[in-house]
């Protein structure tokens, strides 16, 4: 990635270059002295800080999707709950990096909670004993408040989330991201450069419209050197609650996630059906998998999720060995 700042003069050699501050283009640049002193080519001190802070976190997983509304937050919360319910000794943290549209507080049912600041950093909000969450949603006064920020401010927030939250010892840190391949994603990857990210989990729906953007996200992962743990296909089939017939609401005209995964050689972890009760559980923030039997999602959602969880655990264990 180029280190040329966006507001640099023409022919800027880039702040990380050996010629930084010495090239002819640098004459007259207000930052010439900083570049020439070699200070600019030092890595961002935050990277080291974040490495220290997250040294007690075993596996860090980014949840990505080029497309919005495919269920990144839902899948993140399901996986978070799923991992946490495997054993009380497994500690899971969720970081909501969607600054402009934070959904995790609602999906996990902890809206209106407060984040406290202590000597060791921000303490996250605990959803259960071993599942904690940090989101910008906790810092907003009202649900109507909009966070109208350009990139650099969002980056600052993500840096703070990564370096100042006191997660304690974690087995898994799931980072839920907004749609796209822009500031939030680049920042998360760059700040985590030294912290050994296990990989990225991509979420998609079966239509080509969504796969198109997910292809771009896979290209992004390759460009920044992020391992793709696998793809989860969400909303793949709809079972009518009345007549139990199956229908494809979002038809996989181009073969769905399976065909894309074959084409781009990334693993497909599984498919989750479109489940109205799951959508409702997300709105009310209930724990979908342990809800009373009558309201619990159909067994196939449960099984599909279990399979996806097993594959994620296996992929993470693989990467740490």
């Amino acid at each position: 990635m180029s280190s040329v700042p966006d507001n640099a003069p023409q022919h800027c050699p880039g702040t990380q270059s050996e010629d930084a501050g010495k090239a002819s283009a640098c004459a007259g640049c207000p930052n010439q002295n900083i570049c020439a002193s070699g200070e600019a080519s030092q890595p961002d001190p935050a990277v080291e800080l974040i490495k220290q802070r997250l040294s007690n976190v075993k596996h860090k997983i980014l949840i990505l999707s080029g497309k919005g509304g495919v269920g990144k937050s839902t899948v993140t919360s399901l996986i978070g709950h799923g991992l946490a319910s495997m054993s009380p000794d497994i500690n899971v943290g969720i970081l909501d990096a969607d600054i402009c549209g934070p959904s995790q507080p609602r999906v996990l049912g902890v809206r209106g909670e407060q984040v406290h600041n202590s000597g060791s950093g921000w303490s996250p909000v605990y959803v259960t004993d071993n599942l904690s969450l940090m989101s910008i949603g906790f810092l907003l006064g009202s649900p109507d408040d909009a966070v109208i920020w350009r990139g650099p401010k969002k980056n600052g927030m993500i840096k703070q989330f990564l370096s100042e939250v006191d997660w304690g010892d974690l087995d898994y840190l799931l980072i839920d991201t907004p749609p796209g391949t822009s500031d939030e994603h680049l920042s998360a990857v760059q700040y985590l450069a030294q912290a050994q990210v296990s990989g990225a989990l991509l979420v998609t729906t079966p239509q080509e419209l969504s796969l198109l953007d997910v292809r771009k996200e896979i290209d992004f992962c390759r460009k920044v050197g992020l391992r793709v743990l696998g793809v989860v296909e969400n909303m793949s089939l709809f079972v009518c609650p009345n007549c139990k017939s199956r229908s494809e609401i979002f038809p996989a005209t181009s073969g769905g996630a399976a065909a894309m995964c074959r084409e781009l050689r990334v693993p497909l972890l599984g498919a989750l059906p479109l489940e109205p009760r799951l959508a409702r559980a997300c709105d009310s923030g209930e724990l979908p998998l342990s809800a009373p039997a009558a309201a619990a999602p159909a067994a196939n959602t449960h099984d599909a999720l279990r399979e996806i969880l097993d594959k994620i655990v296996a992929a993470c264990e693989n990467s740490s060995n």
Binding site: G66, G101, D145, R150, P251
Partner: protein
């Protein structure tokens, strides 16, 4: 900038995947069917969907003395489209840009495209309230006759983000024309039982709460979903569907509004 454009319609939503691009393209196609000259600008730089939906993938944008020439859907040039998708060589290519670069591309899209005379310019946006949106707002402030159409789905998770977008519109002073609720129910093709997959009535109550006009709710209709990728207009292909009714009414309303002004 955009001097020859009579009216600008921004399609916004805080949430992703609620159907902004589907609404934008169907709106543009319906306007075109009614005989208006329409431009469609896709400023979703990281996930451009418009070229795929309109079946225009692989077309190129040409440069002329007056600026970039949009890709036209028809030989009469009544619907012009511009998207970053036309500038990419492969559909697998990602556009990894930070804010300032996105800002300058959007400025170029707004200033350097040779739209010619347009009755309507529909602008499709990415989700959120960040760089793209701030840039568009700042630049469109000088353009009269600009309003926003918000798109939501009925669940609380989406409504929550759209409430943020309403605040954004109010803060930046852009008039909200109204709210469309998408994916509001699904009729089982087998037993005709209507299931509210993503809950129901959320759009209507949000419109009442925020005191903005409600423009109608569009159900989940796989027939409409299948039109994506073919560039076909729902009003023409599926005249009896609820989707066509909502878009037909919306365009009639737009026609009345602009006649009243002129």
């Amino acid at each position: 900038m955009l001097d020859q454009v009579k009216r600008v319609l921004l399609v916004l939503s805080g949430k992703g995947g609620v159907g902004k691009s589907t609404v934008s393209t169907q709106l543009a196609l319906t306007l075109k069917e009614r005989g208006y000259k329409v431009g469609l600008l896709d400023i979703d730089l990281c996930g451009p969907s418009v070229p795929y939906i309109l079946n225009l993938e692989g077309h190129d944008v040409h440069q002329s003395a007056e600026g970039w020439v949009p890709v036209y859907m028809d030989s009469e040039q009544r619907l012009g489209v511009l998207s970053i998708g036309f500038l990419l060589t492969s559909r697998n290519d990602s556009v990894v840009l930070r804010g300032p670069k996105k800002t300058s591309i959007i400025k170029q899209f707004l200033e350097d495209v040779y739209w010619q005379e347009l009755d309507f310019l529909v602008i499709d946006t990415p989700p959120g309230t960040s760089d793209e949106h701030i840039t568009v707002m700042e630049n469109l402030r000088q353009v009269p006759q600009c309003s926003a159409i918000l798109v939501t789905t009925p669940q609380e998770v989406a409504i929550e983000d759209v409430r943020k977008e309403i605040t954004f519109c109010r803060k930046t002073g852009i008039p909200i024309m109204g709210l469309i609720e998408n994916m509001s129910g699904y009729e089982c093709p087998n037993c005709s039982e209507c299931t509210n997959i993503f809950s129901t009535g959320g759009g209507q109550s949000l419109a009442e709460y925020a005191k903005i006009p409600f423009l109608g709710s569009v159900p989940i209709d796989p027939r409409v979903g299948r039109l994506a990728g073919q560039g076909l207009c729902a009003v023409k292909e599926l005249p009896d569907s609820k989707t066509s009714k909502v878009f037909g009414e919306l365009v009639t309303l737009l026609g009345e509004n602009s006649n009243g002004v002129n």
